[in-house]
């Protein structure tokens, strides 16, 4: 059994992280209750009965609010004070304050806490880093932690769940923060799972709308959707819980194979091996299905096929993107529940013609089957697509950055910070531009049938 450690940084990272722990405990309790098999604590929890479970996590925030609330809430038992690191004054939405100032001041303490968490694992396989891209602590300190992970644990896989800000973000400096953070993610992460705030808002609204709609036959049980925290430890729902639950479900699904049995295991280190053909192009667009579960249990196999179709539709992506009209470099399907390999094969064959894949990876599918479904579902699917559809998101980010940067607005706040230089901005935006360029080159091959590379001839 391998273990993973979750590192949650900043307000957003901690809120998402805590929803993850709540739902992970719910899943753990559920599975043990129905005694499908006995879980010995799984990938992320330390073994023991549920009230004795300790999360394999490190919580970092440069203000106290969110972490304190966690410690007063239902999850307090799960964390130990030695896993927490807080400050009082916050990063002022400034990447440089998080990355440079706090990063340097707390370096030793962070490394120490990471090492402690790692010592509790007998086979540490992966770090899951969760942070936002817009705020100062999340983007700045979060990416600093990423660098520390790479230095201290070079062989352990680093998967970053990064929450990208909406266009109408109330943090005015969020484009700066995002671009500066992007460079770190591109250079130091093994995989990045980008999630856009806007997509989460839309999914939540749609589910709420559908559940209030009340049309017979299409009634949604809200309790069984991905935005629900029903059955978790936390009784009261906080405003962002619904959105954060979606991201928490993403993490539950991606770790499912490490936590439960299945007929086709997908190890976490297989994700980057199969989905990352070129080192920098490691942004994997997640989509979750079913999102909008219908209450009527009609024809199961049709519903199963629908689940596969939905995974490729625009409104199931966790970023604002349309993978079907862009180019796939590779795609992973992580299926949970009572699904057979023949169901997988049938659906891949069915969907393949409508999905453009890069010419040298026409069969770029990686699949995993985990027999334990999420709570309240009979099956679920997480698709991770290495797809050029991330390009527009990155281009828009660059555009917003350029708008601010042209006027040098707010720049002085950054340049005041020790160690921060103006060249960081230009280097960061260059790094992003070259990333966009790489996606662009691949996009240009779309629809063109490249001739087979000439093979070696054998003299007879």
């Amino acid at each position: 059994m391998t273990q993973s450690v979750v590192v949650q940084v900043g307000q957003c990272g901690n809120q998402v992280g805590c929803r993850f722990w709540d739902l992970a405990l719910r899943e753990h309790a559920h599975v043990n209750k129905v005694s499908l098999f006995t879980s010995d604590g799984g990938a992320c929890g330390v073994g023991g009965r549920i009230q004795h479970l300790k999360a394999r996590a490190v919580l970092v925030d440069m203000e106290e609010g969110v972490v304190n609330k966690i410690l007063q809430g239902a999850l307090r038992e799960v964390f130990d004070s030695s896993q927490l690191l807080t400050d009082v004054s916050g990063s002022g939405n400034n990447w440089a304050v998080g990355h440079m100032m706090y990063g340097t001041a707390y370096r030793e303490q962070i490394v120490d806490k990471l090492r402690k968490a790692a010592e509790h694992c007998d086979c540490l396989q992966c770090f899951f880093l969760i942070h936002s891209m817009g705020g100062g602590t999340g983007s700045g300190l979060g990416t600093r932690v990423l660098n520390l992970l790479k230095e201290e644990f070079p062989d352990v896989c680093r998967i970053v769940t990064a929450i990208y800000p909406s266009v109408e973000d109330d943090v005015i400096t969020s484009p700066y923060n995002s671009i500066l953070a992007m460079r770190e993610l591109t250079e130091h992460a093994d995989c990045v799972l980008p999630v856009e705030n806007q997509s989460l808002v839309e999914i939540v609204n749609k589910i709420k709308h559908m559940s209030n709609d009340g049309k017979p036959g299409s009634v949604i049980k809200r309790d069984s959707t991905v935005i629900s925290g029903q059955g978790g430890l936390s009784r009261t729902e906080k405003p962002f819980d619904a959105m954060n639950n979606i991201v928490a479900n993403l993490l539950l699904n991606i770790t499912s194979s490490a936590r439960f049995e299945g007929s086709l295991n997908m190890d976490l280190n297989e994700i980057s091996m199969n989905l990352v053909p070129f080192p920098r192009l490691h942004y994997l667009v997640p989509s979750l299905t079913p999102l909008y579960t219908l209450a009527d249990v009609s024809i199961p196999s049709r519903r199963l096929d629908q689940m596969f179709s939905d995974a490729f539709s625009k409104d199931h992506q966790l970023i604002q993107a349309d993978p079907k009209h862009s180019l796939y470099l590779a795609c992973a399907l992580i299926v949970r529940g009572n699904v057979q390999v023949s169901d997988l094969r049938r659906n891949i064959e069915r969907l393949k013609p409508s999905l453009p894949f890069v010419s040298w990876n026409q069969e770029g599918w990686k699949t995993g089957l985990c027999s334990v479904p999420p709570v309240g579902h009979c099956h679920s699917l997480l698709a991770l697509a290495n797809n050029t559809c991330v390009k527009p998101t990155f281009m828009e980010l660059r555009q917003r950055f350029t708008k601010l940067y042209r006027k040098k607005a707010h720049l002085h706040h950054y340049l005041h910070v020790d160690g921060m230089e103006q060249s960081f901005f230009s280097e960061a935006v260059n790094s992003l531009s070259s990333l966009i360029e790489e996606y662009h080159h691949l996009d240009a091959t779309k629809g063109r049938l490249l001739p087979d590379a000439p093979r070696f001839g054998i003299a007879s």
Binding site: M273, N274, R345, I348, A453, S460
Partner: protein, 386 residues
Amino acid sequence: MSVVNVQLGQCGNQVGHELFDILCSDAQEGKKEYSTVSRERFFHRTSHGELEARAVLVDMEPKVIRQSLSKAAKTGRWRYGEGSHFSQKQGSGNNWANGFCVHGPRLRDVVEEMVRREVERCDRLSGLMVIMSVAGGTGSGVGTYVTQCLRDTYPKSFIVNHLTWPYGTGEVIVQNYNSVLTLAHLYKLSDGILVHENDMVHRICSQLLNIKHISFCDVNSVIAQQLASILQPALTADSHGVYSRNPLGIDWQVHPCAGLERPRSLTGPSFNTSLANLLILRGKDVFSAETGGFEDPALYTSWLLPEAAFNLWKSPMPFKYEKSATLVSNSQALLRPLDNMVGKAWNMFASRAYVHQYVKFGISEEDFLDSFTSLEQVISSYSQLG
């Protein structure tokens, strides 16, 4: 004569388990002589009289081995030896280089010791069989490394590799790279490579067995069934009615695929030229069965006489069915899938996609090129058979 099996990776361990289960229950039903020979070949008796498989189980993660061990123990008929399995906590991540360059050397001593113990338990060793997949990281990478070690330690023993060839789509994206590296190495190491294609077996499950929801269990059990039918005792032309002949001894690239025909138009009129065919008949009427069709000179390459290229083994003991026939064919049948696989891997290699993942563990671009070269040679040799 006994065979020592090494089963590696998720696939190898699942197929291996199925295989032993079939071998054991088939031998139980058989006549005394048949059953004694089969038992001696694949099992040994412990001091408590229990049957223990002559097998070594290796995987980089413990889940599948744990399942195989407990499933075997639950049968009450046979089990795996206590100290004959080895697993680590972390898999090879579908990376051949990780299996071959990192995990392999690390577990070399342990595996060699386990194999040595099994070999010493055999009165007469007829060969070693390595069961693995070619697509993943552990089966393919570690499997290749272990085969290399076995070749070093047992330079004169017969080593056969059983390979499960991946589905065309949908398991591991880098499967063509892993397969190219595996096959190019095994080609130089192994005495015989038995291949099962998942796609073909899947078709057997859906079209011949009419299974609606095909699981890996179904696929593995068909593979094991066919493999067992090759390996169980049979009477050969020179065995004088005694079930003891070495069951292993087939040329490179054999393709057991009973009852299925491939498309007939690869090159010219002779559709599938064989170097050698082995037909195994089991059950009723085997001695009166008409097998002349298999000796048609048109089936074989011009420089071999059919009687030299065709072998027939028989056993009146029914195997699962009243009558059954298994064909092991060293022919052009694998040419097309091999050519496809090398072609896809080569296209990927042309844009250097994924190569950095291999370089990270010590497999260089030159290593890839060497492997491509040697497989192109194999393809060329087989296409010139016709």
